[in-house]
């Protein structure tokens, strides 16, 4: 701190107390102004709107109205799909990350998997939805192939325009995101820990149950929570795939934006704020868990 103070002082005369401090704060003013205008203000607008009636009176009714069947259904569908893809993406992502980092695969594969994960975790929206429609859509090449060998997925009741279909598609960006965020934790598993437990007579299962998993647990939970938030906020992929057929919260907000789907502007604001609240909880949980996990990564 004392060092900090000396730098400016070399050129400008030291000014005591308040005035000097406010001058220093000016350095971050452009950023703060920008953040207030394009991040805080829009969110505040939604928040204030969610607490008002259409005539501008203060009310909590909008949040009470979120208990209508179709808004409940939207939250349920969003939560379900986010939860399922977070857990499955977390599980398979961990398996893939562990296999490439510590599973004895040739070294170059790791770099390829990491770069590909960077690509695939960003591959969403229209192109992703289209790619899956061309593959396991009703006329997709995999569907046609499976039908030819006598396994008709659509005959068995499967359709890509369903929750399960959407979950399969979401995994395409959830799984690689897991690979990216869990990789440092797997790197942090020290060889010495395995050797020590083997020397003490532990089996592979015991090593995982007593040593590796407890160490990895905060990272794993934190990553799964981040995946949850990632899926919860996704809109474009579902919009392209089903055109609003599955009423996710994001889809409902989207149709409210392009028309007045809810018939009530303020209810739409409440819907959005409810979403921000859920995302906020996930981020707090995530940062708490990563702080726990960092203990082992020093």
């Amino acid at each position: 701190m004392t060092q900090t103070a000396q730098i400016g002082d070399a050129r400008t005369a030291p000014q005591p107390g308040r005035r000097r401090f406010s001058g220093t704060v000016l350095g971050v003013a452009p950023f703060l102004l920008f953040a207030v205008l394009f991040l805080v203000l829009p969110t505040a607008y939604l928040f204030v709107g969610s607490l008002q009636t259409s005539t501008g009176q203060l009310t909590l009714d909008n949040f009470a109205h979120l208990t209508q069947p179709y808004t409940i259904a939207a939250y349920e569908a969003s939560l379900e799909i986010s939860l399922v893809t977070a857990i499955l993406g977390g599980l398979f992502g961990f398996l893939l990350a562990y296999a490439t980092i510590a599973g004895g695969l040739p070294k170059p594969i790791r770099g390829a998997i990491m770069t590909f994960s960077g690509v695939a975790s960003n591959f969403a929206g229209g192109p992703l939805a289209l790619a899956f429609i061309f593959t396991i859509g009703r006329a997709g090449f995999l569907t046609v192939f499976l039908r030819a060998i006598g396994l008709d997925p659509y005959g068995a009741g499967f359709t890509i325009y369903s929750k399960i279909g959407l979950e399969i598609v979401y995994l395409y960006f959830q799984l690689p995101l897991m690979v990216l965020i869990i990789a440092p934790a797997i790197d942090g598993l020290k060889k010495e820990w395995r050797e020590a437990s083997e020397n003490l007579g532990a089996s592979n299962v015991q090593y995982w149950r007593r040593v590796a998993l407890p160490i990895l647990l905060p990272s794993l939970l934190g990553s799964v929570i981040l995946l949850f938030g990632n899926a919860f906020g996704a809109q474009a992929t579902a919009f392209f795939l089903t055109g609003g057929f599955i009423p996710l919260v994001t889809i409902l907000i989207g149709s409210q934006l392009s028309g007045d789907a809810l018939g009530d502007k303020n209810l739409g604001y409440a819907l959005a704020i409810g979403m921000v609240a859920i995302m906020g909880v996930t981020l707090v949980a995530y940062s708490y868990l990563t702080r726990l996990a960092e203990r082992w990564q020093r």
Partner: protein, 286 residues
């Protein structure tokens, strides 16, 4: 462990089994498992790309779907527009975040948690909510931006700058951590340099690598972004794809592959830049 089918002679079999187990499993089976996991993953990630490719090639005559890549002026216009918006986004983001991160590290370490919190907010406010808020706030007086094309373009850039905060700030801050900004700044100032010179001639060149990886990530995100582009109704690459996916199926397959290739190229550049360092590419704006 020993099921009802295996006969127990001495009662020590379970113990013997558990001792024998580790040596029986290692060393071959984990590697085999790894290969299985890898192959299944390659199938899952490869098949949709193959499916898209096959579909795009089904257009008659052969290669017809790719013809519009050279002939469709609209595609180039929209792609060009997307890249221009992406580059402006990156420049604004750098201009905003480099001085801020630098100043916070040098002079306002106490503000750091607050600045960091703000840059993480886009993770809490999904793009659809952000665009909802932006449209509600800036479509009427006193801050009407959506009335004109220029205003809408500005709003689009501002939305993307906000979305770039987490990635850009983190890469810039990580870059600042490894250079000794205090000494560099003191050296510059004792040679008579002003703040602008310090940032432009000394700090920025030192942050080149850190900024570039954040910049290319932002570029990939902006060019491939759908929610904000479509709801602000700007002629972005995303809007083009949305339009042709409804009318030209084969062509949309070709364009989807093209979008994947663009993201791939951006990530390739990032991993080239970050070669030899532990670079984390973490994204997730959908």
């Amino acid at each position: 462990m020993s099921g009802p089918t295996s006969q127990s002679l001495t009662g020590l079999e379970p113990l013997a089994e558990s001792i024998a187990k580790p040596s029986r499993r290692s060393p071959a089976s984990p590697v085999v498992m790894s290969w299985i996991v890898l192959l299944v993953s390659i199938l899952y990630f490869g098949l949709p790309l193959v499916g898209t490719l096959i579909f795009s090639l089904r257009a008659q005559p052969f290669g017809e779907a790719y013809k519009m890549m050279v002939s469709d002026g609209q595609l180039f216009k929209d792609l060009g527009y997307s890249f221009v918006i992406a580059i402006i986004t990156v420049l604004v983001s750098i201009g905003l975040l480099v001085p801020t991160a630098f100043w916070v590290r040098l002079r306002l370490p106490r503000l750091r948690p607050i600045i960091e919190f703000i840059t993480l907010l886009p993770f809490v406010i999904p793009p659809i909510v952000l665009v909802y808020g932006l449209l509600s706030t800036f479509s009427g007086p006193p801050l009407a931006l959506t009335g004109s094309n220029l205003g809408s373009d500005a709003l689009l850039v501002c939305a993307y700058v906000v979305l770039s905060f987490p990635y850009m700030y983190r890469s810039i801050d990580a870059g600042l951590r490894v250079i000794d900004i205090r000494t560099l700044t003191e050296a510059c100032q004792s040679l008579g340099a002003g703040w602008f010179t310090v940032l432009w001639r000394v700090i920025l060149p030192n942050l080149r690598v850190a900024i570039l990886s954040g910049a290319f990530l932002t570029l990939a995100i902006v060019v491939g972004e759908f929610t904000v582009a479509i709801f602000l109704a700007r002629p972005m690459f995303a809007t083009y794809l949305q339009l042709i996916s409804q009318t030209q199926a084969y062509e949309s397959a070709a364009v989807a592959l093209m979008s994947f290739a663009i993201t791939w190229a951006a990530m390739g550049v990032i991993s080239l830049i970050g070669r030899g360092r532990q670079e984390k590419i973490i994204a997730g704006v959908h």
